[in-house]
Symmetry: C3
């Protein structure tokens, strides 16, 4: 069982199409940081991968935070003075400010306006708003529609509940040869937003599905959590698992048409950071690497100083840098099967790199071995150069990734050369234990 | 007592005007490396700050050197063949070569010319010349005047003394909470030269005055010394004080209209070096950073290998890079209140940084604390970013300066965030003892 | 005995002419990795330097390799159908594929062509081909001539022997004050090829001659070996000597008109690497520095991971980057006395640097010593700057090369300043033992 056979890259195109279909299925659900929207979404994901569903009661202390009340909503609308529904939750779940408390009253336009949110820059889009930690209610609508509202009394109705309940998240653990884990984390707390939320959820699901279908060296843990409070809750309840994370990835905003952007872990030079840099450099795709900063998605929590986990974040266009962010325009047209497929390919290549990376020791440390008598010598091409590099750096101190970085060759080519040299008993792989020690040290 | 209250930046404009007036008051005095010119100058400085005046006898061995004879001068002139005074010490003390021995004789023009110094490139300027360690005499004059001298016998007269006496320097020590010291050193040995000498003396005086007016964490030592021999003498006689210097600054050539130039200490990355780099980067002013070299002002002595003190040098246009250097054109018109004020501001900001820098430890190392419940959460702006950076890097290993460097935010903003977080008991300052240890390690 | 007297640079021009004459004398000989061609060449070299000739029997195991059979050739030709010699070994020894087994038969053109090698891109040149480890025979000729061959039967004759014998190499050991060695290695296995082979052989000979003529601090070992198998054989049989190598150089391809290219050792920052970088930077000549890669000349063996010796390679145009490489156009017109002389100068300067490099300790660590009273103070020029740098960095932790690098001054100037300061008892050289320790640590 070598690295290639256990890690054959699935076809990006079909994966992209599957991911897109899954996102489309999840799109209509009104998710929030708690409630049935999350449960329903996890239910759909569970049709593909055997998720463990966790329910954490309201009021549970999680570090400096407390699990909030659970929010659920059935219906909501605004009727104009003539009794016509002009804003309807059934048209778009973005119309209601997420975590709105129940309300049912008739109020004049001026008073209503205090609860309305629009985007003057993008008059046709509905903004996405939340009010998690301050009890309030509100509606979001297009700026154009706001302009049409006439004086008079409006009936507002929000049929929601904000009560003791649970915070729900899903978790898939795939045991590997090693107890050391690779973490994939995505947020599942946004309503009908595709790039921000569903692109990560659907790719994480397909990653899990494909990883389940093969033996792996590392154990994998894929978590589907509400942003911030979910990551904090998971970390608070999983200190031991967190200690086993050797590499981790927050995946979000990975379906739009922009180039890749990888944000490094707080450590700055963790193996996952180097792996993404290497794979992206050799991907032929546009990309940018960003230093860690304490603002963003859930890497904020994984990289808090007490954890300081080697967790980076993969996105395409960074959040807030595209106007569709947190609006109704982040819809199914904003993401594409093609881009989802490309993203899957990059993450898969990184996992393949991490799976296959390792230290090697040459059996011929003194002078080159004679390749010719083993039929390995040909005209000097990239394959022979890869062999020479691997032989020269198989000193027990250079990983394959080190070799790829030093030689400028791709990890795949270096790995292939190493496998050929192992077959010919010219080098031997350092034992797994040592590799683990090395990963811990990173 | 927080960093802000104890370090409020005085108004740069009025400071600049005060510094300029002090320079103007010191300008006419004929200073040298010893003698009454230094004493008179220190007397004027003493009207503002309580200087200790030190007198070190001629012949005192100081490391490889010996304190020289004391030089004093009362008058000097050259009379032309018609008996007319054509060069007069009273017009400009630059006319006499500094440390000229007494002379009174009548000599022909050819012989006189061997003792005359001019600047052919700048025919209207009088050069500044010295002969400290080789007994000689001479006059300096404009190249234009030299061209007008006719054949004949000239009467030369220098009423000077070069005798056993003392080397004089002034010292202000301002005790702080810590025994650790910040050193400010300026040379006070040049006659009527403004940028080279008086700009440093006057700013050092005002720094002392302002530091005296407030409590400080560090102790400060400000020394007004003749260049080279003075620094060597001070170091020879103050080995214990030298050992307490945590940060140091040679200040000279800081009143001209050029951009700032900071020359790093021999260590290259001392805290003072990083502090100046940071403050200058955020100052909005033109500046250049220079690596240490063993030529220059008294940083040569402070950074000799046995001491290797963390002492840098602040100048504007580096000496020798402006034509007015060491000529009569380095006069009161060459410096300005505005530039003196700007320089004061930069040094003050550096001191404020050093005073307020420190290590912090978060009380919530695991995941972010909830800012919202403490009223600290708003829309994400620079202030909130500063809070997030401080929280993330308050791991007991990053100083505020580290945080400012990593975040790209100004030290002031980072410090403000830290103070707010301390107020809310979210982080605690590492104890002073640890900070001292850290400073020693730099 | 100071560094200058023991290392006066011989006149590059006359050295270049001597090296060229030696290359011309060696040019006609048909060398290979074994055989009388190598013996005859070493015989010519021995007329100038007292070489030890080593004979290693066929079949001797050397690490992963085995010393091959010895090859000798007396004559070879191809006769056309009319019986006319159209290819004659006596015209050019490149005509015969090196290591061709004996053959004498008459074969039709088609069959002959399977054994013919030409260069279509350079139709007038004869390529250089070998078949060391696969028994075969062949002829090389110009592509133009190939085109003139008509159908018919050709007589091919190769009067060679491939039998049990020896691998021959030459070695010059020049004992110095230290047991620590500097290695010079050149390959001597190519037939009539000038840049690739003879330029290195002739310069190595002249380096040996000049080093013999003077006392040296380091011991020198100059080896003339067949490429690859020779270096492997030497290393296998000289493990103790290899352990004493502190600096080493593979010299090859150093007579063409291109700029210099220095390939760093696997260590990347060995003293020899820094020395070449420094000397080339100050040489005023065009040059490029290359990182180590595991492909090239015998640095491949010296830098195999078990040895990891500080051995770099000096070339001019890198092999394979000039079309004349491994063709009859790499002849005496392709190299020049002038370029050989320049190369000698660069290597000599590097040796002079290594010989004279060292740690110094100032006797005046506290403040600068007074240069004036020792007559060392003048106007500040480069010489005085060099003195100030040496004084400041004579802290027992900076070598002269460190000082040259930090100051930007040339090693020669820094060395001169150090010698002057030693003469005036201002600094003392660290003892040789410490220097050795330091070299080992590199």
């Amino acid at each position: 069982m070598n690295g290639q056979s256990r890690n054959h890259t699935p076809e990006a195109k079909s994966i992209g199409a599957e991911a897109y279909r899954l996102a489309a299925e999840l799109y209509p659900i009104c998710r929030s940081i708690t409630g049935n929207g999350v449960r329903d979404s996890l239910g759909i994901v569970s049709q593909r991968i055997p998720l463990q569903i966790r329910e954490v009661p309201t009021g549970t202390p999680v570090f400096d935070w407390t699990v909030p009340k659970e929010w659920n909503i059935r219906d909501a609308y605004v009727k104009d003075p003539l009794g016509k529904k002009i804003i309807d939750f059934k048209d778009s779940n973005l119309h209601v400010v997420n975590y709105s408390i129940p309300v049912h009253e008739t109020i004049p336009l001026d008073q209503l306006k205090e609860h309305l949110h629009t985007l003057s820059d993008h008059p046709d889009w509905i903004p996405y708003k939340t009010s998690y930690y301050k009890e309030n209610w509100g509606f979001c609508l297009s700026h154009r529609q706001l302009g049409t509202l006439e004086e008079g009394d409006y009936e507002v109705f929000i049929d929601s509940e904000l009560e003791e309940g649970h915070l729900t998240y899903g978790e898939l653990f795939i045991p590997g040869q090693l107890q050391d884990e690779i973490l994939v984390s995505c947020h599942i707390c946004h309503p009908s937003l595709c790039n921000d939320n569903l692109s990560g959820v659907s790719l994480a699901t397909l990653l899990g599905e494909r990883l389940l279908a093969q033996p792996n060296r590392y154990s994998y843990r894929i978590i589907f959590i509400p942003g911030t409070i979910g990551a904090i809750t998971w970390l608070a309840m999983n200190r031991e698992a967190a200690a086993r994370i050797r590499h981790g990835l927050v995946i979000s905003g990975v379906g739009d048409s922009g180039g890749f952007s990888y944000k490094k872990s707080r450590r700055g030079n963790a193996q996952i950071d180097r792996a993404f840099a290497h794979i992206l450099q050799h991907s032929g795709q546009e990309f940018a690497l960003h230093a860690f900063s304490p603002y963003g998605y859930d890497e904020r929590q994984y990289c808090s100083p007490g954890f300081n986990l080697p967790v980076g974040r993969l996105s395409r266009t960074p959040f807030r840098e595209y106007p569709e962010y947190h609006t109704s325009a982040d819809d199914l047209a904003f993401i594409s099967p093609e881009k989802l497929g490309e993203t899957f390919g990059v993450v898969w290549d990184v996992f393949r790199l991490l799976e296959n990376d390792g230290l090697y020791v040459t059996r011929n440390p003194y002078c080159e071995p004679q390749l010719g008598k083993r039929g390995l010598y040909d005209t000097i091409g990239d394959n022979e150069m890869a062999m020479l590099w691997v032989l020269n750096l198989s000193d027990g101190e250079h990983t394959l990734l080190d070799m790829a970085e030093e030689s400028g060759l791709s990890f795949g080519r270096v790995q292939q050369a190493a496998e050929l040299l192992v077959e010919h008993s010219l080098i031997v792989k350092h034992d797994e234990f040592q590799m683990t020690i090395n990963a811990i040290r990173t």
